[in-house]
Subunit: 358 residues, 2 copies
């Protein structure tokens, strides 16, 4: 974290002439905002600490002191470089909070504490930074995670693309919870909580300036509450959020880990007409498009119905479906039963369909 980044004096001294000049220029981020000096102190105090109210954050120490934590600790990090930084349904700030909350939640952890590291390109409008902070504040509230520390670096114009955000998170796994791909058994059902491909298509449509008529919004959302619902209503074995690489890559990773094959039914996989049309136009396969508000839940066959029912009641799971199951065959493959009655092997993609999607 570095006190030097977040440290804020209680009473800034007057640097009258210099600071006035700076104020006139202060609609945009300057190199000096990243220097650890007075300019940074004021930016953090006026724009960040007015939004994020954690008592731990306000200590502004080199590291946040969280006290003792009971239960198993989960720890995760992700850097976000999405382009454009504002897209239908969200922005890089919303994405940065949700992505890390979701990485904790799929491990069965309750998201507790988060740090955020900003790398900002000189010249970014401070009003844009404030919009991003606003989104982060809203997602902090919705997910219940607490931002306890941060860091801000500024690089020259042309040395980064507007803003990159890293979020790292700590969650607590109740000692009774033990999710693992080792628990997955043949016959287990695979549930997804709704339409796939919306995040990737929303971002790419905005980036390329394509208007798909139907209004495709990113599904970006914190999944910790629907995941809590799912775990409370049946024997969940394992979860994953199918982000980069999409549902196909996630299922392939699971199949490789467990050794068994996975079979999914095309007709059960929820895809909106908008995403379908956009994918046809662009030559993409929705199975490989990134999601930011989806979770793949693997659940015992006997509890699948109960878990599905509970998930459907959550606003983030209204279109939940059982899309397939784990097979007895030890092929490590993912097979798609197509709508026209065929069977197709769904491989992990080699390279990107869409760069800078998250």
């Amino acid at each position: 974290m570095g006190y030097e980044s977040w440290a804020v004096s209680s009473k800034p001294k007057a640097h009258s002439s210099k600071l006035k000049d700076v104020k006139n220029m202060s609609e945009k981020i300057l190199m000096g905002h990243g220097s650890g000096g007075r300019l940074m102190h004021n930016l953090v105090k006026e724009k960040f600490l007015t939004r994020f109210k954690s008592k731990i954050l306000r200590q502004l120490t080199d590291a946040a002191v969280l006290g003792e934590l009971k239960g198993k600790i989960a720890f995760t990090t992700d850097s976000y470089v999405v382009k454009p930084i504002f897209f239908p349904g969200g922005d890089i700030g919303k994405l940065a909070i949700c992505g890390t909350v979701n990485d904790l939640a799929v491990m069965g952890a309750t998201p507790k504490y988060m740090t955020c590291g900003f790398i900002v390109e000189e010249g970014l409008r401070i009003s844009d930074l404030e919009k991003i902070f606003d989104s982060m504040k809203e997602m902090e509230k919705r997910s219940g995670i607490e931002i306890v520390g941060g860091d801000l670096k500024v690089v020259n114009s042309g040395e980064a693309d507007k803003i990159f955000i890293n979020t790292s998170g700590i969650g607590i796994i109740d000692n009774k919870i033990d999710l693992s791909y080792r628990k997955i058994k043949p016959g287990d059902k695979i549930i997804i909580n709704g339409n796939i491909g919306e995040h990737g298509i929303a971002v790419v449509s905005k980036r390329q300036g394509i208007d798909f008529k139907t209004n495709i919004k990113s599904d970006c959302a914190p999944l910790n509450l629907i995941i809590k619902d799912a775990m409370a209503s049946g024997e969940v074995r394992f979860m994953r959020d199918p982000t980069r690489g999409g549902l196909a890559t996630t299922l392939n990773e699971i199949a490789e880990k467990i050794g068994y094959s996975i079979e999914i039914d095309e007709k059960e996989i929820p895809v909106s007409k908008g995403v379908k049309d956009a994918c046809e136009l662009l030559g993409f396969d929705p199975l490989y498009i990134a999601n930011e508000g989806k979770v793949v839940v693997i659940v015992s066959a006997k509890d699948a119905g109960k878990v599905l029912k509970k998930m459907k009641r959550n606003i983030l799971g209204k279109n939940s479906r059982i899309i397939g199951e784990v097979k007895k065959e030890k092929g490590k493959k993912v097979a798609l039963n197509t709508k026209i009655g065929g069977k197709r092997i769904i491989d992990m993609m080699t390279s990107e369909q869409l760069p800078r999607i998250c």
Copy 2:
């Protein structure tokens, strides 16, 4: 973290033709290395997991599961954007490990677990990435911290400057340890573990291609062991690492927090001749130049001698000095007793002297 970033198949499937093409191009980072697909899996497996051996890391789950931790948890983050990425005495990888280790250590925490998030510009030489990983591996070993998770994003050429690294760390503070600026009392002594300004000058000399004749190397180092030594030998009240903004900014931040003034003696502040000459040439003040291997230790007057002696025995503290003390006056100021017998107020800097120093 994102399993999608670090997940590695135990037996990569053969994508014969495609992968061969890619191999021929693979001396440089491609966009596909950041996509969550096979290319990234192979890069992480071949270049990262061959160096970092943590059992937790190798689980490659969405979040690292650390088990239960006893003691108070410290949590910190920093993003590193130093330019150039290789400089005398270190590189961005060394810096990223040491900086976060030091932020934990100055809080009295034993550094335990770390995540690292890489944002890489397309076209970075993979051999450069490997050199950075090598430095990180060495620092992981020296500091005793364990890298348990990571993330890799690739952006197009021109959208970042070679590589940015975020490291986030978790440390454990023994329940007996309670460092706080609230514990600082008038009369307490201020110790620094050696020459100031070396990191900043080393980086800027390399960046600008200036040859200072004397060979100035960054002081970048993990301070957790010398800090442990200091804490074991006397009543340490508070510590800080004077990074961005240098010693002057750190002391100002402390003075503002405690309310008392601080007085330091110019003749006691260790500065090498090389740094002194370079600062004169460039018009900088060494008091404001970033350090990456220095710690300011505030210690009770009665124990100052013992702590100093112990610190001098550590290789990172051979040139340790008592440079000043906390005064009774409630001015929140930092005063420098100059060599020629005057007194000068040392203010916090407003903006940067040197951007992208860490």
